[in-house]
């Protein structure tokens, strides 16, 4: 079935059993992003100690892709050095922008590789990227150094 490319078991699993969901204190930066075309929302909080992302907490409302993506983001980035975290973010963004032509690096992206199929559905790429763009903004507000790209494409 076609949709199985999109809805990998890993994605459905993260959707039905999200990891680390819920907004937690303390946090140094928070960002709330909305996808205006469908109303999906996500709030991400970043708590950093020096260069380490101690906690990334989130809450949101939306489709399986956007919410599973937030769960995967939490898994991948929590506890990471900021520099490595942004490598993961860049890898995920590159994968999603690849229209299915980018071979994902499992070492780097872990469960994130399950989203490779999503990249082939242009209408759903924004869903997958929503929490990642919110994370970038939250990280900037938390004073965590990283990539300077803005998340403007999500708001487009």
């Amino acid at each position: 079935m076609e949709f199985e490319q999109l809805y990998q078991e890993i994605i459905l699993d993260h959707y039905k059993h999200p990891h680390g969901r819920g907004l937690r204190e303390p946090f140094a930066g928070e960002a709330h992003h909305v996808n205006p075309t469908c109303g999906d929302e996500v709030t991400i909080r970043v708590n950093a100690e020096g260069d380490v992302l101690r906690d990334i907490s989130y809450d949101g409302m939306g489709c399986s892709i956007s919410q599973a993506s937030a769960s995967v983001l939490h898994e991948l980035l929590r506890g990471q050095q900021a520099g490595h975290a942004f490598e993961i973010v860049d890898g995920f963004v590159e994968l999603m922008g690849g229209r299915g032509q980018v071979t994902p690096d499992e070492e780097l992206l872990g469960d994130g590789i399950a989203f490779a199929g999503v990249a082939r559905y242009p209408a759903r790429v924004k869903c997958a990227l929503l929490p990642w763009m919110a994370f970038k903004d939250a990280a900037v507000r938390a004073g965590v150094a990283g990539s300077t790209e803005s998340g403007s494409e999500v708001k487009a």
Binding site: E2, F3, Y7, C38, G39, C63, S64, I65, R124
Partner: protein, 430 residues
Amino acid sequence: MTTITIPEGMPQYGDVPRLDVEKVRADFPILGREVNGHPMVYLDSGNTSQKPRQVIDAMREHYEHHNANVARSVHQVGTEATEAYEGARAKVARFVNAARPEEIVFTKNATEAINLVAYAISNSPAGSRLAFGPGDEIVISEMEHHSNIVPWQLLCERTGATLRWFRVTDAGRLDLESLDEVVNERTRLVSYALVSNVLGTINPTSAITARAREVGALVLLDASQAAPHIPVDVADLDADFLAFTGHKMCGPTGIGVLWGRYELLERMPPVLGGGSMIETVTMERSTFAAPPARFEAGTPPIAEAVGLGAAVDYLTGIGMEAIRWHEKELAAYALDALATVPGLRVFGPTTPVGRGGTISFGLDGIHPHDVGQILDSLGVEVRVGHHCARPLCVRYGVPAMTRASFYLYTTTGEVDALVRGLDQVRKVFG
């Protein structure tokens, strides 16, 4: 069971005009295609309708044999193009029973038609009958498409007028209990949808129009979801303006219609300036043509008008009463069928009375995007999201809805495919 005989003199069931849906489908080339390996089940006509061969052919014929600019050419081809363009205007006028073709203004779409009225109001000199200001009120409803909300919000910002609205009941009807309070002596304009693009509700008109007349307010009806589906008669509706769009009624994209009472159009200042809308131009100032030309600056959508004229001919040939009845039967069938899906909630009227063939629903905690994606994998094309009516979604406490919208070519078999698809959705996400 007792059978009730309808008394003679009352409309009889057998008198209802019918259409042959298979014959209709044969006119729409796209309905033969597949999507993701399945026969396409197109349930997104509220978004845009499919086009019959008659419309496609009329536009091709125009470009192949009669293409020229309109209203300015003395040559033969230009005359043919002008006749085709003005002929389309006359067809549209007859379709909505306008008093004269000059009451039909061609626009880009319904959004532009509504904006045209809003900008003509704010372009009106202070003190004139159409000028709005602080203390004046504009009334809309909570079930409007964004295109009938935002232009009025912007007009209020430009003029200092206040925006008010009718609320929507749980059953998906306009709440008119406070009609006399919401529409009052401060009200200058009432603008609402004849048929809701989300709930399918067919809204009442006479009580609202009567109240608007009483307080001297203008009435604009957004007929985008009405003109394609039910007979629309502007004389009968007793409105002042009517807006609709071509592409939802078997016509092409890029053309919409503003109908207005001629005496109102005559009083409205221009909105866009340019060619074709002038009387005389000097380097200092210009005078303007009479409506409808006054509101059609620049080269208009000529081939699109021809296409819309063909669409109107096509719909008239099938019969708007037959289309209304077909969709009513489909709505009745679909409401029953959807009621069998566990966890499904219909937003809007759940009986096929005072509603058209557009049904929005939610499925038990499963996001509409996911519903739409699984349905698409089975060839079933529905719309998901907030349907450009975010306040209405907020009213029902949901971020988004799934919408199936029917048209003259929709079959009960396609409704069955939707219901089967929803079972699949529940298997994946259940």
